[in-house]
Amino acid sequence: MGYLLQGETGDWEVVIGLEVHAQVTSKSKLFSGAPTLFGGEPNDQVSFVDAGFPGMLPVLNGYCVEQAVRTGLGLNAQINLTSVFARKNYFYADLPQGYQISQYELPIVGEGVLTIDMPDGQTKHIGIERLHLEQDAGKSLHDQHPTKSYIDLNRSGVALMEIVSKPDLRSPEEAGLYIAKLRSILRYLGTCDGNMQEGSLRCDANVSVRPKGSTELRTRCEIKNVNSIKFVQMAIEFEARRHIEIYESGGTIRQETRLFDSVKVETRSMRSKEMAHDYRYFPDPDLLPLVLDPKMVETIKAGLPELPDDKKQRFTVEYGLSPYDAGVLVAEKASAEFFETVAKGRDHKLASNWVSGDFFAALNASGKTIEDPPVSAKNLGELIDLISDGTLSGRLAKDVFALMVGTDKSASILVEEKGLRQVTDTGAIEAAIDQVLAANPDKVAEVMAGKDKLMGWFVGQVMKSTQGKANPAMLNELLAKRFQK
């Protein structure tokens, strides 16, 4: 049994379904030719269609349709060759038409599946309910004027894919893994940049709880518009505990929409079911049903890149990596490519350790991106070559790597410049050993008396005296021989 929350009456299981809104990577909006750049002055990317002017009509952006199909295929989902755009009617100041064009009864993508990788190496299949295309609303700015709200319609009409999971997630951790995996797939496909800070990826979480062992689905609450994985996890945990408390004190949960306050770490009621909008969905008469050519779907399918799951599988087989190491490397397409460049013609395990270890650490510390790495794949590969040919010990390599960060210098140049070449000359190492033994007769006596633990101390001392350049294997061997005498 996985994640359970302890209540006063017993253990509770959490049931979570996620609705992720992913902005389609497209230069223009879903139904108008207006640009979609992030930032810019308010209302400078708005066409008359986006502003809901009289007589303006939507024209579907074929590129966005292709991206939705591409995403659907990437989620192993059914592509619906006929889908219908519907109007979701409600009044709000940043919704210029008074309705959002979305898909309701017939979405472009049907059921699919997404696999999440658990930290213990297990995988879990999470059902995808549907993916549909819809337009975004504008933005209301309530803090610009004491009594007025300002409206920015730059986002109005931007294409979104709403990706709805089945209620298959059972813990905040799984929810986090699901979002991360979905984001990874979207970025591999290039259909969404996955930028949560800029709002390109937003998440609504549907949360309910049930006593351990039960299979019922209890009343859920929807937490709207959470914009980071951490916040989604915090919101789910808070909400689940809130439900448990209410159930255990004899109360009932009302179906409602809630907002997450990341400062107070709590969810608050936004509107109850009674106050919920009646969206009056109906097919948009301005748009004909969307009919896809099966050939177009086939062409997109044939052009799909290798996706994280397949790549991970290949990495474990081809490079002999553990599922965990492989999973880390494939999370971002660019890091997987970085790894493959480094690993090509080299020791795979060594390459994997260096990429996931020192390189990722340096990447995180430098604040750089994999596209503009602190050490290039070529230079890292060369460093590994120097380890393999015995020029550098692992320890020396770490020093060289630290010097490489942020410079464009190759490992071999740094080795020459700093004289960091490993000492493999037996005579030189023996001379260093002699010096250390001579300077520490008391410790030599202790070792001879059986205190083997001091061997490590001697190794360290010799290393120190050679500035770490002594070949560790040779040093161990020679030192052992010396004490055997």
């Binding site: 002017f53 009289p54 007589g55 009509l57 009044f91 008074g98 309705y99 009056r280 109906f282 748009l287």
Partner: protein, 490 residues
């Protein structure tokens, strides 16, 4: 110059080509007629200066040898078409001060053909009405008068009432109309002119203020079938900006007017003879059938059984779409805003003051039929019936080439009549609505006068995108009818 305003477009075209007068002369004459005809309240916005400027440009083009299909022809534009730089009202208070920064495709096409706009014509508010009495700018008066009571002010029909009255009274040579359930054909019938609603998808809806998107269609209104054919050719065409506009080649509609309808089969639907149909309407219809027989066509009785549900179905689908289409008039970005203490209050104040009673009625009905729990019973069922109506026509057109019916159940009535109950008013469109529901082309032409001396129209319905047959048959009937009477009540 008064004779210039009684010319047909076809006649004016010849005279302009011969240089008998200029586009500026023609426009000036019509500007005078518009001024003289202000009592009809046909115009919401007159644009005489702009018209003269355009007429001058037209004369220059003609001199340069560039002659469009409507070169120098003065027209009126229903004030539902957005016109760049010219106030557009949809006859509603809620669009106060709205000057579109864009031009509708249809009016841009007309301008491209050389037409000169004299201004924006009155209509029912948001094209919702059958008598042109719901306009925020007051009712339009029909230029026709009853013999028995020449002082009674008659309605021109609606919603394209301003267009019909202006054409009938000679204020313009032709006008644009829009038709959702009969808004071109019924006023054409009431005012003794010709009007055609083309097949849905023939004209672009881009830039036309939407009422019911799946039904709205623009079309020409003029004094003769030929004039409608000329105008139609310049209005239609595929427009990538309207996803429902069909990529279909534009035929030469005028060429279709061959005068030869021998061998054509004309459907006479028995369901269009309801009990209580006025004897005068029946007589005109019979006369129309006789003309067609004389011209060598064969009348065939047909059945369109779903017809009886058409009106009820229409008053679910059209309001449903209207309730959503009119949500954008919220006081936020353009038009009227009546302030309130909150956003919701501002919406309520603006829409309460901005919309008239008929528009509100339809928004309420539309909101209701789309609501949770009612959607299946009303909207979905209505869509199913709509398909049955279309199937009825499709079956009929397996055996007939065109269908002949009355356009409206009555002649023009007086202001104040039939206003006690909205359903009575809605019954005006009982013969035109089925065509709209099926998306078919429908034309009304004047076929005679009733006992009060008021025009009565007949409707011709064609196959999808077969406006040519409709126009051809109408042309033959027009000649047979010899209808050339013009109203005197300007």
């Amino acid at each position: 110059m008064t004779q210039l305003t009684s010319l047909t477009i076809a006649e004016a075209r010849v005279a302009l080509a011969k240089g008998e007068f200029t586009a500026q002369d023609l426009t000036q004459a019509h500007i005078k007629a518009v001024e003289a005809g202000r009592g009809l309240n046909a115009f919401i916005t007159e644009t005489p200066d702009l018209a003269l400027e355009k007429a001058k440009e037209s004369d220059q083009r003609r001199k340069a040898g560039q002659v469009g299909a409507l070169e120098g022809i003065p027209l009126g534009i229903k004030d539902l078409f957005c016109t760049k730089g010219v106030r557009t009202t949809a006859a509603s208070h809620i669009l106060d001060g709205f000057i579109p920064p864009y031009e509708s495709t249809v009016t841009a096409n007309l301008a491209q053909a050389g037409a000169v706009s004299l201004g924006k014509l009155n209509l029912d508010e948001f094209a919702m009405g059958s008598a042109n009495i719901t306009s925020h700018f007051g009712p339009v008066i029909n230029p026709w008068k009853r013999k028995s009571d020449p002082t009674a002010q008659l309605v021109p029909g609606g919603s394209s009432g301003g267009s019909a009255a202006a054409v009938a009274a000679g204020l313009v040579m032709g006008a644009t109309g829009t038709d959702t359930g009969g808004s071109i054909r019924q006023p054409a019938s009431f005012c003794g002119i010709v009007g055609i609603k083309p097949t849905y998808g023939r004209c672009s809806r881009w830039g036309i203020v939407a009422f019911a998107s799946s039904l709205d269609q623009a079309g020409p209104m003029a004094r003769t079938v030929r004039d409608c054919a000329i105008m139609l050719g310049s209005m239609v065409g595929h427009d990538p900006k309207d996803s429902t506009s069909q990529p279909i080649a534009v035929p030469d509609f005028e060429k279709a007017l061959t005068g030869d309808i021998r061998g054509l089969k004309v459907g006479i639907p028995k369901e269009y003879r309801p009990d209580g149909l006025s004897a005068e309407i029946q007589a005109v219809w019979d006369k129309g059938i006789a003309w067609l027989k004389d011209a060598g066509a064969t009348p065939v009785e047909i059945s369109l059984p779903a017809t009886k549900y058409a009106l009820a179905t229409y008053y679910i689908i059209a309001p449903a779409e209207c309730s959503s289409n009119l949500a954008r008039y919220d006081g936020v970005r353009f038009g009227l805003r009546v302030e309130g203490k909150s956003l919701d209050e501002m919406y309520a104040n603006t829409r309460a003051e901005g919309f008239g009673a008929e528009v509100k009625r339809r928004i309420l009905i539309g909101t209701y039929v789309l609501s949770h729990g009612y959607y299946d019973a009303y909207y979905i069922k209505a869509q199913k019936v709509r398909r049955l109506i279309a199937e009825d026509f499709a079956n009929a057109f397996k055996t007939v080439d065109v269908i002949l019916t009355p356009t409206a159940p009555t002649a023009a009535f007086a202001l104040g009549e039939k206003t006690d109950d909205p359903v009575t008013m809605w019954l005006n469109d009982i013969f035109t609505i089925p065509t709209s529901m099926a998306g078919l082309p429908g034309l009304s032409l004047p076929a005679g006068l009733d006992g009060e001396g008021l025009p009565l129209g007949l409707q011709l319905i064609g196959r999808p995108f077969d406006e040519e047959t409709v126009l051809k048959v109408a042309d033959v009937m027009e000649k047979a009818s010899g209808f050339s009477i013009r109203p005197k009540g300007v």
